[in-house]
Amino acid sequence: MKKMTFKQIMERLEEITATLEKEDLELEEGLRIFEEGVGLIREARQRLTSAGSRVEKLIGSLEESLETEEFELESQESEDDKA
């Protein structure tokens, strides 16, 4: 299965909560999606704590020549701080 995006995780969690709030649900099914929900919460937390987001710059101008390369900040002062 393809890795879920954060959005997909949050949407699925929403669905699970809504489903669990419905009355007509088999106990087994309830337990199954409860477990799924707990797993998704764990996954979301992990992503938020995992260090290292990807920061890249997009180079090239034509579709065929487009590529990304890693972008690193030069150390300098923030203008927001000075303002």
Binding site: T5, F6, K7, M10, L13, I16, T17, L20, E21, E23, L25, L27, G30, L31, F34, G37, V38, I41, A44, R45, R47, L48, T49, S50, A51, G52, S53, R54, V55, E56, K57, L58, S61, E63, L66, T68, F71, L73, E74, Q76, E77, S78, E79, D80, A83
Partner: protein, 467 residues
Amino acid sequence: MSVKDKDRVYTVEEVNRLADGLLQDLVIWVEGEVSNLRGYSNYIFFSICDEDAVLPCVMFKEAMKKTQFELQDGMSLLVRGRLGIYIRRGQYRLNVYEAQEAGEGRLRREFMRLMRELSKEGLFDEGVKRKLPAYPDRIGLITSLEGAAVRDVVINLTRRFPGARLVIRGVRVQGDEAVSDIIAALDLFNRAFEVDVLILARGGGSLEDLRPFNTEELVRAIRRSSIPVVTGVGHEPDITLSDLAADFRASTPTGAAEAATPSSAELFSLLKSREASLLADLRRRLQHHRRDLGSLADRRAFSDPSLVTGQPIQRLADVETSLESAVRSSLWERGEKLEAVSSALSRFPREYRDLPDRLREASRQLGSAVSAWWRWREMEPALRGRQMAAAVRSILAASEGRFELSASRLQALSPLAVLSRGYAIVTREGQTRPLVDSAGVGKGEMVDVKLHRGELYCEVKSSDDDE
């Protein structure tokens, strides 16, 4: 009038006209600040000045009509006019043909004009603004690769929402090339590099610095983007037309990063409350089931199972009754057969005579198996339907087996079988009753001797009785 005669004495007016004539071809542009403004019905007087000098100006009614704005002291002005002399007073001045606001003032006026125009078109309406994604997976950033803006966005974005991927497109944000650079970047993301949200950022600056962000072309490019655009240009109170066109306007690059992403701190608390509500739901659900179970257990259906199973049990009973009678009649039939066999056996030697008892014992066991089945029927109502047929079949098979065994024993004990071991049955000629005593069989009588295979027809030559 020319200056040919060095000795000629000119009138004052002549001198002034001479000077005026010398200046009259000088039609020039000049920029400066308005001061000492005095208005009259057909003309106005004012001065254009900068740090170093002052230039008197006059503007006549025709030129005033062409000017879209009202002159004010302190206003930065760009004027075109002809230099000349006011003959009567011998005063040097610029006769202004046209005037434009210069510098910041002009830019601000242009800004207001464009804003009104584009606003009328609906480009800044709340209704056309797209919603920003709650959890962007990929974020595009259009800004200068140098400077504080890119740094502010990168730092804040990665701190707030580490899960996202940030892709930066470097552009010029100032000067004549900036507009086409930024528009190309917007179009590039839309056309060839899909992201969930775009951030357009730039540090603060003067109105002149921000001019690219106040162009109609950029406003239209932002509205044309199918990806939502967040702007973070300059610092308050700067606002650009791009800000007005954007789907969300933040006042700084940092603000734009915050607007484009959820805060992980808030997400943690959201996840926590989700988790709590999942647990609460589950607990409530379990309680619900437990309560249901409790109330169900009290219902008559469970204290009196027949209430639930009444109909099937009735059907089962019907089937059992017919099965029972089938078994009984089958037993009865077999019993009759046994009776017949045992009465036939009674004619045979004594050691064979307990056979009927054995057969009765087998029959009794068959009967007890049937009653065991009846007991079982009382015990396991739920399983009976499925198991009954099998049980009945096995009981029948067992009784069948016993019957077969008895039959084969009977077969072994049959007098005819004894013949195969060399015995013979002797009867008077034409009779079936075996002879068991030589007495009564006289000399010369004919007897039939039945052997294992075949018969002999014999004449009695003598017997014990004869001697």
